[in-house]
């Protein structure tokens, strides 16, 4: 009987396995509802996630982040190596790659693209390739990067969107005197080596991508990728309309599902409610300078910050704001970040401890403060209102100030804010980016908070040239330990990317860095 059951199971597994291969269908156009439109499809000069997160479908990088966002896999390069001293990177280019217009991708396109990306006059992402001194094509299929210093982040940096390969000749043939003018024209009809190419773009409404017939990737069935004939992005800013259209079959997928609707869509038998792990962290950033507007600043007192942290019921925030979808933070960086350390929630809610810490501080009777939130932002209002109550319990009187995003950013940049809600998503599969902005003071004064730790600054600088993975992980562990204990933030929760897909959609994923990957999507028609 046992033998029979085992044989039946074996057959079932084989059949199941075969079905998953044979069930794959080619063709069709996937419609995807976005909350807002892209702005500028240039890998180097773009500056917003609305571009970054879909650009990987048009352009390719030499190296690509893995689906979990922590590792790297081959893209336009099939193989790579770093010299023992860490100052030379050699990459072997994939043979026979063409741009979507049919022209061949050459080593000189790669050299030109990298030189453009690392030019400090171009956009804001050049710093990711700051260690690159020269880029050379040693032969038609080998690229060599000579670095100014050993750079442990260089391979991850080569997987970031700004290191995408663009066609030099087509770009330079564009009308315009400067790089920016040429990019403006090139961006209207971008040509890359990615699985899709732009067919039409009715700004603010519909963007149509169609399959790139020259794409190098091969599917499970041995035929060229992508499986889809195209992807149509429909811009539907209103959450309720986007969901309604998805539920009525007008869309195959929709992004940015409000957390309040996640459970409802999860219960819909025709919809797969996906929560892709992200690197999104949410927090409250505190200005910790000793004085604010000529007055002594209570937030500069570490005991006060710890008291506020313990008085913050994160689990309650997660329930109230994210409807249980969020998770508590165990470090200031997301748990999907490489070298993240910490396995228990930071500052678990403890009102008594909060009260005693505040009693020990220079402000035992509490104080008045204020928080900047974006006007009309529901999550911001919910967080601030909850904090008002939670901190009121230890004697902190919180005023909520609603302003528009640009006004908030200005007060934040010039260091005149008191508190603000904040958030972060990584662009690179490495802990250095968030650490640079949040903890390393020379970059932007630790998220403009005025916080500074000499030890963190030294550790960070050392980590940027440390080629030993173990030592580097230890450096980041210590940076996190210091920041988490005394840093200028109230960590609230991590959130995934909520994407709702109709059950006919297979193979879609959003990686922790946010990239929407349609390369291997197929529709069960």
């Amino acid at each position: 009987m046992k033998i029979f059951s085992a044989a039946a199971l074996f057959v079932a597994l084989i059949i199941g396995g075969l079905q998953s291969v044979t069930a794959l269908e080619r063709g069709g156009v996937m419609s995807y509802g976005r909350y807002t439109d892209s702005m500028f499809l240039d890998p180097v000069l773009n500056d917003a996630n609305v571009d970054i997160w879909i650009m990987g479908n048009i352009y390719d990088t030499l190296i690509v982040p893995t689906d979990d966002g922590k590792g790297l896999k081959p893209g336009l390069a099939t193989d790579w190596s770093v010299s023992p001293a860490g100052d030379v990177v050699t990459l072997k280019l994939r043979e026979g790659v063409s741009f979507s217009d049919g022209s061949a991708m050459t080593a000189s396109d790669v050299v030109w693209s990298f030189n453009r990306a690392k030019n400090p006059d171009n956009g804001i992402w050049y710093f990711l390739l700051a260690s690159v001194d020269t880029v050379v094509a040693t032969d038609s299929s080998t690229i060599q990067l000579n670095l100014k210093y050993s750079d442990p982040t260089i391979l991850a940096a080569l997987s970031v969107f700004n290191a995408a390969v663009m066609p030099q000749k087509l770009f330079e043939a564009m009308e315009g005197k400067t790089d920016a003018e040429k990019a403006q024209n090139f961006g209207k009809n971008p040509i890359g080596t990615g699985p899709f190419m732009l067919e039409s773009w009715d700004r603010g409404s519909v963007m149509k991508l169609v399959k790139n017939p020259h794409y190098w990737g091969v599917g499970e069935d041995g035929q060229p990728l992508p499986y889809l004939d195209g992807v149509t992005f429909e811009v539907i800013p209103d959450d309720a309309t986007r969901i309604l259209k998805l539920q009525s079959g007008g869309l195959d997928g929709a992004e940015f599902i409000p957390f309040a609707r996640v459970n409802e869509l999860d219960a819909d038998p025709e919809i797969n409610m996906e929560l892709y792990p992200g690197t999104r962290v949410n927090n409250v950033i505190l200005n910790v300078r000793p004085e604010l507007n000529g007055v002594e600043n209570p937030l500069s007192d570490e005991l006060v910050r710890q008291a506020m942290n313990y008085a913050t019921n994160k689990q309650a925030l997660i329930q109230v704001v994210t409807y249980g979808v969020g998770t508590p933070m165990s470090s200031f960086m997301a748990s999907a970040t490489p070298m993240h350390s910490g396995d228990s929630p930071l500052f678990p809610y403890d009102l008594e401890k909060a009260k005693s810490l505040l009693a020990e501080s220079a402000y035992p009777d509490g104080f008045s403060s204020n928080i900047l939130i974006i006007a009309g932002n529901q999550d911001g209002v919910a967080v601030a209102t909850a904090l008002q109550q939670m901190w009121g319990a230890i004697g902190i009187d919180l005023e909520i100030k609603q302003v528009d995003n640009a006004s908030r950013t200005e007060q934040y940049r010039n260091g005149t804010f008191t508190m603000r809600t904040g958030g972060w998503t990584n662009d690179i599969a490495d802990p250095s980016q968030i650490s640079s902005y949040y903890a390393y003071s020379p970059t932007i004064d630790a998220v403009h908070s005025g916080w500074k730790s000499d030890e963190v600054d030294e550790l960070f600088e050392a980590s940027q040239q440390e080629m030993d993975l173990g030592k580097r992980a230890a450096q980041f562990a210590r940076i996190q330990e210091i920041f988490n204990a005394s840093g200028p933030t109230i960590p609230t929760y991590e959130t995934p990317y909520p994407v709702a897909l109709r059950d006919v959609v297979h193979g879609f994923h959003q990686i922790p860095l946010g990239n929407n990957v349609f390369r291997e999507v197929w529709l069960d028609k």
Partner: protein
């Protein structure tokens, strides 16, 4: 001849009005806290990058020099490029403004089509069941938020019954009209309520006027009396109200465009203000100002036709 002179002077008045709007918008948008680079780059950009990008955009120059440069380009028909979308502002206006104009025309047509007959029903059967029912329904129209009514219509006529698309704008003129029908109904609902109430009161007033009684006494048929004497006179104040409501209709279009995912000028304007995209805000404001001014001109012309004393 008198009419041509009237139109000529009204257009002449438009020039200082537009110049004033131009200056106000140019200054106001720059007085708002924040700048285009930091508005869009948010937390990630370094201060040096923000300064460099704003310098590249010429925003480090004095406001007077910036204004002169702007005025010069406006006079040559160039409204500049969008800072964030990297396309000419003129191109954006040409794409997005007609959508909002079409939506507004459809909404106002529906509003008039609904309001005029119902105003007659309510006025002629004053205080009776028909009057109470019509006024009751429109009271709801006046008090219901646009986004809420929009969602109800989308759910019922879009998702459930499938008679209309669930948002979007469609391809081609007829498809565009089809997509714009539900949002136009939403916009028309509150406008028709305002028009209906105003017209009802005006009709009641005119019905009691001596010249109407005189016309009836002369033996003119009741239908003719209603159209030639009652409607024409009652419409004078309603047309003025209608013209003034166009501005409100355009601002209502912002929410309607978001709910129905219509790529109109309202949405673009709001996004551009948030992003401090100065050239787009300036260009759109000028266009909308011209549009509203032309509507007022048209309203005055219709009023002058209805009542020669106005001209």
């Amino acid at each position: 001849m008198q009419l041509i002179r009237f139109i000529f002077y009204r257009i002449l008045h438009l020039i200082p009005t537009l110049l004033f709007i131009l200056i106000v918008v140019f200054v106001l948008v720059r007085l708002l806290p924040g700048d285009p680079a930091s508005a869009i780059l948010g937390d990630r950009a370094l201060d040096a990058d923000v300064e460099r990008i704003n310098r590249e955009l010429g925003l480090d120059r004095s406001m007077a020099i910036q204004f002169l440069a702007f005025l010069k380009s406006v006079l040559t028909g160039n409204l500049g490029d969008s800072i964030h979308l990297k396309v000419p502002v003129m191109e954006l206006i040409q794409k997005r403004l007609p959508v909002t104009i079409m939506l507004t025309i459809m909404a106002s047509s529906i509003a008039v089509f609904v309001a005029v007959p119902l105003a007659f029903v309510a006025a002629l059967w004053r205080g009776k069941a028909g009057d109470i029912a019509v006024r009751g329904v429109f009271q709801v129209g006046l008090s219901m938020p646009v986004f809420y009514l929009g969602l109800i219509l989308l759910t019922v006529f879009g998702a459930r019954l499938g008679w209309f698309p669930v948002g979007g704008y469609g391809d081609g003129f007829l498809d565009n009209l089809y997509h714009l029908f539900l949002p136009a109904v939403v916009l028309a609902f509150s406008l028709s309520a305002i028009l209906m109430r105003n017209l009802r009161s005006a009709i009641i007033e005119v019905l009691d006027a001596e010249y109407v009684q005189f016309a009836k006494g002369k033996g003119i048929g009741p239908g003719m009396v209603l159209i030639r004497h009652v409607l024409r006179n009652a419409l004078i104040s309603t047309v003025a109200l209608f013209g003034l409501s166009i501005g409100t209709l355009l601002s209502g279009a912002v929410i309607t465009e978001s709910v129905f995912a219509i790529p109109g000028a309202g949405r673009l304007m709001v996004e551009s203000i948030y992003g401090r995209d100065y050239p787009v805000v300036q260009g759109m404001t000028i266009s909308l100002a011209v549009l509203v001014s032309l509507t007022f001109l048209l309203t005055d012309l219709v009023q002058a036709w209805l009542d020669p004393r106005v001209g």
